[in-house]
Assembly symmetry: C2
DNA sequence: AGCGATTAAATCGCGAGCGATATAAATATC
DNA sequence: GATATTTATATCGCTCGCGATTTAATCGCT
């Protein structure tokens, strides 16, 4: 039973642990804003380019409606965005920021600088890491999507 | 509003996406075994060293009893392990593999080689990645735990 | 010995993510 | 133009993870 590696030594575990650590940092940084880390990512996309469909958001975040719909409903309940079916194509739902949602963008820079400080790595190191992680992700996804 | 980076360009997002991709790979690889990715990690620790307390497992996996207890109960319900309070210290609960739990270790190598293939990176690249991720994790955790 | 403080698990309520399924609208086919 | 197919969201039930709280056992101090 040559288990040379403890599970905690595996690459998958270090990735997972780093992800959890990020979540923790964001939890603190976002507590004042009153949104969660995934919610903040959605808002970030909308700040860049408002009026998107659920599917467009999902494609960028790699989330489907089963995850996004409840999340968007929570943001809607907070009064940060509106969900309205597109009259041109009633299948799709268009997501638009409210004034309150747009106003929240002002607090984003503080959050980002707080996270930047927490990362504590040089730009080169971050780039190396990002590049490797994207390669890893592509490889992993290719293996689960044999559909050429 | 200088949002130079879309949220999906952020390091935190690439980490999260890689984590999700790993989860997907494990979901497929473990479907035959009938356990989830976090459950597999727990079993991996027990295969290495049986008879641990909930707290010991949690410390290694960075999980607390609020996450571990239900997970362990599910593994217990599957007949893979037993949970028994330690007579020496009735506060702690000792986790022991059953014969079925030990037997499952035979299938682990296949899972690991499947994941290894999916990673599709050289050993050096994996080491670089692991090292950087651990540095990242340490830095992130240090920032949320000001308690010196 | 007795009593407060600490420690270990468990419990509760929540958000996130996914597989599977359902529903409704648009498109394709005949 | 009616019907089958595809597409976009939504819904359901589950596991995981966390913050907060609870319960019970041990430890420490006098």
């Amino acid at each position: 039973m040559a288990h040379t590696h403890a599970p905690t030594e595996l690459l998958c575990f270090t990735v997972h642990a780093a992800d959890q650590a990020f979540a923790q940092v964001y939890r603190h940084a976002l507590s004042e804003m009153g949104v969660t880390y995934p919610q903040f990512l959605v808002l970030g996309l909308l700040w860049q380019c408002d009026d998107r469909t659920v599917g467009e958001l999902g494609q960028m975040l790699r989330l489907q409606s089963n995850t996004l719909t409840p999340l968007l409903k929570r943001l809607e309940a907070m009064g940060l965005l509106s969900r309205r079916r597109d009259p041109q194509d009633e299948r799709t739902v268009r997501i638009r920021l409210t004034d309150a949602g747009r106003a929240l963008a002002d607090k984003a820079p503080d959050v980002m600088s707080c996270v930047s400080r927490a990362i504590g790595m040089t730009a080169e190191e971050q780039d190396t890491l990002t590049t490797l992680l994207r390669r890893l992700q592509d490889s992993l996804r290719a293996s689960t999507t044999p559909a050429a």
